[in-house]
Amino acid sequence: MSQAGMTVESGSVRGRVMRARVTSFLQRQGALVALILVAVFAAARYERFLTEENLTNVLRQNSMLGLVALGMTFVILTGGIDLSVGSLVAVAGVVAAGLAGRGLLVALVAGVGVATALGLVNGAVIAKARIQPFIVTLAMMIAARGLALVYTQEKTVSVPVAAQAFRELGRGKVDAGPLSIPYPVLVLLAAYAAAWLVLNYTRFGRHTYSLGDSEEAAHLMGLNVGRVTLGVYTLSGALAGLAGVLLASRLGTGQPVAAVGWELDAIAAVVVGGTLLTGGQGGVGSTLVGLLLLALIFNIFNLEGWISPWWQLVLRGVILLAVVIVQNRLSKR
């Protein structure tokens, strides 16, 4: 009798495993299919869409948001959220711009360092004081914006013309054979590759997923939940910092009011990619797809050139919702 029981179990287990795999594949594919459709549409409709210049532009323009979305991916995988990223981009930007005169390295380290430290504060308050991430990072979003304004006395900080190396970071390119890749894009790709490795091949990465799966279970299984929490928010801060430095370098200025609302764009990219806000499922590949999908939509708005700003707003919301609904339907199959 008992043997019979076990066989039934494992038979149905296989079926479920298959279904689970197919489901998660489709879920990711939802955004990918949309991305491909949008790209084909654009290529057919706009003559200049497939030029190297346009495509490089799209990537470079979104490299900073891409870094922020990458940090957000880690945070969301743990089931958390980080609303402070936009403000951290601004803080890092003004600090880096202010110090750009002392050399690229100093500016880079200081900018990323400040944002990392603020991210660490987020993580520490969430982990130690046990306050919900939404409210902690909301407070940080307000406070960091205030700090950026205080630090700059509400003015824009310019990068000295002499700071060539620093300016080069955001504007320069490397020539790789027939292609020339802007530095920010290079940074973006490297960051995504590294993050992929971290998520899939390090304990920190796996524990990030575990936390989003069930924080209580992870805690009872002996995971140091606090440390992982600290880690993801610090990482998110660091990546926002890197984005801020790149932004300052690209614009040649550090603006205390830069990157307002980026947190929502980053969350949208992560979710459109297929990562669940409840955590535990998703990954960097999904986020990249989500990022590019949203980027192409903006690119199309600009290529189209006549859609009124209000209709653009309406369309953005509708498209966001449509992609998520389609994904939702697919994953129910």
Binding site: M1, S2, Q3, A4, G5, M6, V8, E9, S10, S12, V13, R14, R16, V17, R19, A20, L197, N200, Y201, T202, R203, R206, H207, Y209, S210, G212, D213, S214, E216, A217, A218, H219, L220, M221, G222, L223, N224, G280, Q281
Partner: protein
């Protein structure tokens, strides 16, 4: 040094927001011993082991590991020292693979990166050793509760731990799986590991445990060797009663009521016809009369819960219909079923039963709010009246009706949920594993309550994995297998043997279920 026990707890004290949960509890585990921990629901067993593994902070007392005082601040610390627990509520990671669940926190690495190949093969080996055929790469969530429980146990024993705690590990295991577990425990024992074993099932204790520590109301009662301790004496220790106060016949508290209900030949009170739902239910037909308790048996995953949910309108069916008092019901949601007079006590208290942050009062009256309110405004007086009467009647132990239900022990939570339905005065009650994880005292109370209800004319469908309960409690037993009714036993035919045969092999003795073979 050598006569110091492996792990000793002394004078443990724990308060939950001021309320004493544990007070002066002593317990010790020797090397190579299986030590049982028993007590009524809410006696403090789970709390004690959570203190032992650092999941909770204690408010007093000492914990000594190999004679050395330890102070675990988290389960992580405890694991590092070789104290590992498998907790009562299966607490694993649903989206992660089986291998990841087993190795979480100590994933094998090469050059700093996780070595997936090794992790999967090691996990496979561990599972194989436990006689389990599970793909280590499967997401845990794709396994059923029993297999998840086995994975949790595999994780627990794979640590090479000194002390392994198992908190009600068998509550959702089949007999076969239980016997695998016994083998594992014996192996651990031979290796000198100390095992703490919590269970409400006495036969298990006598099979596998060496000594027993009894807790009552958060206090230490006694530690005794199990050999030579009579069952009835153990129950006396748990309940704090004298031997002569406990006069009962049979293993359960079901009387011999079903003689009364048996001969009624009226139309059935509830009839579910040809329920079909995907591959999970295949033309299931069940019926029950007024005052009748119909048992439902089956292996894990055989479709009993699915049947119950379908009758209750919780899941949509592809085909089939439910009749109550011969009237067809139009069920789109549980709300419709409740309005018609059905009630359903779920098997998964935590996920589908309690609203953890709400009080006993609010949980108890949740389903009955429409009756207790006029124009949507709830009468607090009616509420209090009902709550007080049911708390008294069912002997619900809580500091007050306003205590959060999450703070109650499992058994008391179950009673509140039962009361949630009883105060609706339903016509037909579906009970899914009503006594799972319930202590022997409360179990008896619940069983006799079910009996009483049936005697007063309520129809009951009782799903249970405890054969004793089915045999003694039901006037008819429907046996399910692979989503079909494969047998129906009545009256004198009902025996554990026959049920087991039907569960495993399809239709055994007794005529087949009405619809089982109807296609």
């Amino acid at each position: 040094m050598s006569n110091e026990p492996l792990l000793r707890m002394e004078g443990i004290r724990k308060l939950f927001s001021g309320v004493v949960a544990l007070d002066g509890v002593d317990a010790a585990v020797e090397r190579g011993e299986v030590h049982a921990l028993v007590g009524e629901n809410g006696a403090g067993k789970s709390t004690l082991i959570k203190i032992m593994t650092g999941a909770y902070r204690r408010d007093g007392g000492r914990v000594l590991l190999e004679g050395r005082e330890v102070n675990f601040r988290s389960p992580e610390d405890a694991q590092a020292e070789g104290v590992v627990a498998v907790y009562q509520e299966v607490n694993l990671l649903a989206y992660r693979t089986v291998a990841e669940n087993i190795f979480l926190g100590r994933e094998p690495r090469r050059f700093g990166l996780i070595d997936w190949k090794k992790m999967n093969s090691d996990a496979g080996a561990i599972l194989k050793r436990l006689g389990l055929d599970i793909d280590p790469r499967a997401p845990l969530g794709s396994l059923n509760i029993a297999l998840r429980q086995m994975v949790a146990i595999a994780r627990g024993v794979s640590f090479g731990a000194k002390v392994v705690v198992l908190d009600e590990p068998t509550s959702s295991l089949t007999e076969h799986e239980v016997s695998i577990l016994y083998d594992v425990i014996r192996r651990l024992k031979a290796e000198g590991v100390g095992v703490v074993y919590i269970s409400h099932r006495f036969d298990e204790l006598y099979t596998i445990c060496d000594r027993v520590t009894v807790l009552r109301d958060g206090k230490f009662v006694a530690t005794r060797p199990l050999a030579g301790l009579e069952k009835i004496d153990l129950v006396c220790l748990m309940l704090g009663k004298r031997r002569e106060e406990l006069q009962r016949q049979g293993a359960t508290a079901f009387g011999e009521h079903h003689a009364a209900a048996e001969k009624k030949e009226t139309a059935p009170l509830m009839r579910a016809e040809n329920l079909t739902r995907g591959r999970k239910l295949d033309h299931v037909t069940v019926e029950a009369g007024r005052g009748e308790i119909v048992g439902m048996a089956g292996l894990l995953g055989s479709g009993r819960t699915e049947t119950a949910r379908a009758i209750f309108g919780a899941d949509a069916v592809d085909e089939g219909r439910v009749y109550l008092e011969s009237k067809p019901l139009n069920l789109h949601s549980p709300g419709d079923a409740i309005d018609a007079g059905l009630a359903f006590l779920t098997e998964d208290r935590k996920a589908e039963g309690i609203i953890p942050e709400l009080s006993v009062r609010e949980n108890l009256t949740l389903a009955a709010l429409p009756e207790m309110s006029k124009m949507g405004v709830v009468s607090r007086a009616r509420q209090n009246e009902v709550v007080e009467s049911y708390m008294r009647r069912l002997g619900i132990k809580a500091s007050s009706a306003e205590q959060k239900i999450r703070e109650l022990s499992g058994g008391n939570q179950q009673k509140v949920l039962l009361a949630r339905w009883l105060c609706k005065h339903p016509k037909f009650l579906i009970l899914d594993e009503p006594t799972r994880g319930i202590d022997i005292g409360a179990k008896g109370e619940i069983q006799s309550l079910i009996n009483e209800l049936a005697a007063s004319g309520l129809g009951v469908l009782m799903i249970s994995s405890e054969l004793e309960e089915l045999v003694e409690g039901s006037s008819r037993v429907v046996v399910m297998r692979d989503g079909r009714c494969v047998a129906e036993l009545r009256g004198a035919e009902i025996s554990q043997d026959k049920i087991i045969r039907a569960m495993a092999e399809g239709s055994a003795a007794g005529e087949p279920g009405a619809a089982g073979a109807s296609i």
